[in-house]
């Protein structure tokens, strides 16, 4: 029987990891992800998992060891945030190019500088171009459910790409919430006892060389398959979500539409802000405003078609970015959504709100100002900041 428990986001992710029981975890502490690693280390010490736990001496070594272990053919997981993820950047695209289904808990925290330990999406967003799948969580339940699904998605032969599942630092990672935990055997059955590795470095009878140098004549042909796998992963994400829904009742997709069907004004957001936004939308609906929200759950692959379809009839749209591209053109979500709408016959007028950097609070009144701004969409700048002192 599944049970309802109180867990923080970190505890929920650690619990999912315990039930997945990966073969190798190589990880390094960093706020606010540290707890996941600490809790998991206690599971190891108590013999609750059979994982080989490698307490590496940096995040660069964490991801390097994950690549080594995954190339050896076993199931590998890790967790980090912010500067830790930054330190992994060199190795992230290697993991994708080698088609290794490493699954990582990524607790969203602002990247330095200045140094800040609180939530924004800059760490995950800066890693969007490395060939990793990126799944955002609104709350602890989603984090738990998505981590379990991530194993199946990453290890699917049509995908074979590393995957990060994110939660918002401190807001979700450290806040107690009510979540439903599945039975151990149900998780084991869902993810499968072992990874069915296609290439194993430790297959001594069929030795291989992995990670060769490519000159101009092969590099291109080795990169395009990553793009193809990213494309193909959409289907797999939905298949796995379907199976998860049939078995365990909770439905997931690439996006979530909240009161969007007849919405005239809408926002797009990722992560915990969506929870706050749902309250604001309900308040507006009660007043007769046709407000709605598009929550993006899967950012990589980017669900362009689904987003265009869901938002096509909206008249005024505010895209909320908890990070900036520093391109002077807006945040990552905004620029990608604009691009998605390029050929669309019908598109909303859009404005970008960059908010919440470095853990700056986003609350109900602020979201109300966003919807107020949408009433005068024609007067809005392309990009604006929400909640910063000028």
């Amino acid at each position: 029987m599944s049970k309802i428990v109180a867990k923080t986001g970190n505890e929920a992710m650690a619990e999912a990891m315990r039930q997945i029981n990966p073969d190798v975890v190589a990880a390094y502490p960093i706020t606010p992800a540290t707890e996941i690693v600490m809790i998991f280390a206690k599971y190891v010490a108590d013999g609750l998992v059979s994982t080989e736990f490698v307490a590496v001496e940096s995040e660069h070594s964490a991801m390097s060891a994950c690549v080594g272990a995954s190339a050896a053919g076993v199931r590998v997981m890790t967790g980090t945030s912010s500067q830790g993820l930054c330190l992994m950047y060199e190795i992230l695209p290697i993991a994708a190019a080698l088609r290794l289904p490493i699954v990582m808990c990524d607790v969203n925290r602002a990247i330095s500088g200045p140094i800040n330990i609180h939530c924004d999406h800059s760490d995950t967003m800066a890693a969007r171009d490395f060939g990793w799948l990126q799944i955002f969580s609104e709350n602890s339940q989603e984090a738990y459910d998505s981590l379990i699904q991530a194993i199946r998605i990453a290890e699917d032969p049509r995908v074979h790409l590393p995957t990060m599942v994110t939660t918002d630092g401190f807001i979700i990672s450290h806040c107690l919430d009510k979540i439903e935990i599945l039975e151990d055997k149900d998780v084991t059955e869902f993810v499968g006892q072992d990874r069915k590795a296609n290439n194993r470095l430790l297959d001594l009878k069929n030795p291989t060389s992995v990670g060769l140098l490519d000159l101009q004549d092969y590099y291109f042909e080795h990169r395009v398959p990553v793009a193809q796998a990213m494309k193909d992963s959409k289907k797999v994400i939905l298949e796995v979500a379907d199976e998860f829904a049939k078995k365990f009742g909770r439905k997931y997709g690439l996006i979530e539409e909240y009161k969007l069907a007849d919405a005239e004004v809408a926002i797009v957001a990722l992560g915990s802000t969506c929870g706050t936004a749902k309250v604001v939308i309900d308040e507006l609906r009660a007043k007769g405003v046709k407000a709605g929200m598009l929550k993006i759950r899967v950012f990589r692959p980017f669900p362009a078609e689904e987003i265009v379809k869901a938002l096509g009839k909206v008249k005024a749209l505010a895209v909320l970015d908890r990070s900036d591209t520093w391109s002077a053109q807006g945040g990552q979500v905004f620029t990608e959504i604009r691009s998605a709408f390029y050929e669309a016959a019908q598109k909303p007028k859009m404005t970008n709100f960059i908010y919440g950097l470095g853990g700056r609070e986003i609350d109900l009144p602020q979201l109300h100002t966003v919807f107020a701004a949408l009433k005068n969409i024609d007067k809005q700048p392309v990009v604006q900041y929400l909640g910063v002192r000028e």
């Binding site: 073969d23 190798v24 190589a26 059979s50 994982t51 080989e52 490698v54 307490a55 590496v56 001496e57 940096s58 660069h60 070594s61 964490a62 390097s64 060891a65 994950c66 690549v67 080594g68 272990a69 995954s70 190339a71 050896a72 053919g73 076993v74 590998v76 060199e90 190795i91 290697i94 470095l201 430790l202 297959d203 001594l204 030795p207 291989t208 060389s209 992995v210 990670g211 060769l212 140098l213 490519d214 000159l215 092969y218 080795h222």
Partner: protein, 306 residues
Amino acid sequence: MASLKELSTRKDPLTGGHRMCPGCGAPIVVRQILMASKDPVVVVSATGCLEVSTTIFPYSAWTVPFLHNAFENAGATMSGVEAAYQNLKKKGKMTEHVNFVAFGGDGGTYDIGLQSLSGAMERGHDMLYVCYNNEAYMNTGVQRSGATPKGANTTTEPAGKVGQGKVQWRKDLTEIMVAHNIPYVAQAIIGNWSDLTRKAEKAFAVRGPKFMNVLQPCRLGWGYKPENTLELARLAFDTCIWPVYEVENGVYKINKPREKKPVVEYLKTQDRFRHLFKPGNEKLIADIQAEVDRRWNLLLAKEATK
């Protein structure tokens, strides 16, 4: 200790057809060490001459399982492979003993790879790390590294009108590894196959972390005729500019040259030291000799008297 005839029956870890320079010492390091293993081996290599020249897609010269990840993380990458092996062994999915050997050049080991190596050794993984040490970043065109000896001409600390090559002495990575208190550490050369393979056998007999720092003359970077690769390595040993020794559980055993030769015998054989023979540089050679002697005597003092 295996004879050459016995070694010749073992699997050659490399095929011909790689693109290392004619006379390169690196594949000699690889062949001699890996063939000393009776058990199967799995190799990780850092980016560098060895990795780049032996694995140009679609050609790999490695006959044993091989993984390359990046430049500074051979230690960490091998830690992951070894951890996966321990897990598979625990689950009964692998039963045979495997020798894990990570290779890194002096660039990828002394400098950028030092953290990764240190962590791997400290955590006690059952692996051998071999530094094939040609005393500079050769693959990118002979830049100085933390392993470059004093006075050597490199492209980032060249000999010119003012500068006379590298100002600093190399740091002592072998001693840093001894300070990690791992069961087996060795400093060695190619050019003495029986000593190198014996040291490798000792390393492979240990269950835990081990480290070998092997001097590997580079005909391109050092400037000499390729046929002299092994001769030069032996001369480095004879002059004590590169002592050959092992430290087993903290106990030092030093190979001593039959006759300690003056360091100038070594310096005069290589283009990278040619500028030291210009008039006015006599003091530099004297300084080098003094430092070689100082370090040699310090090392000798670490050996227990019988």
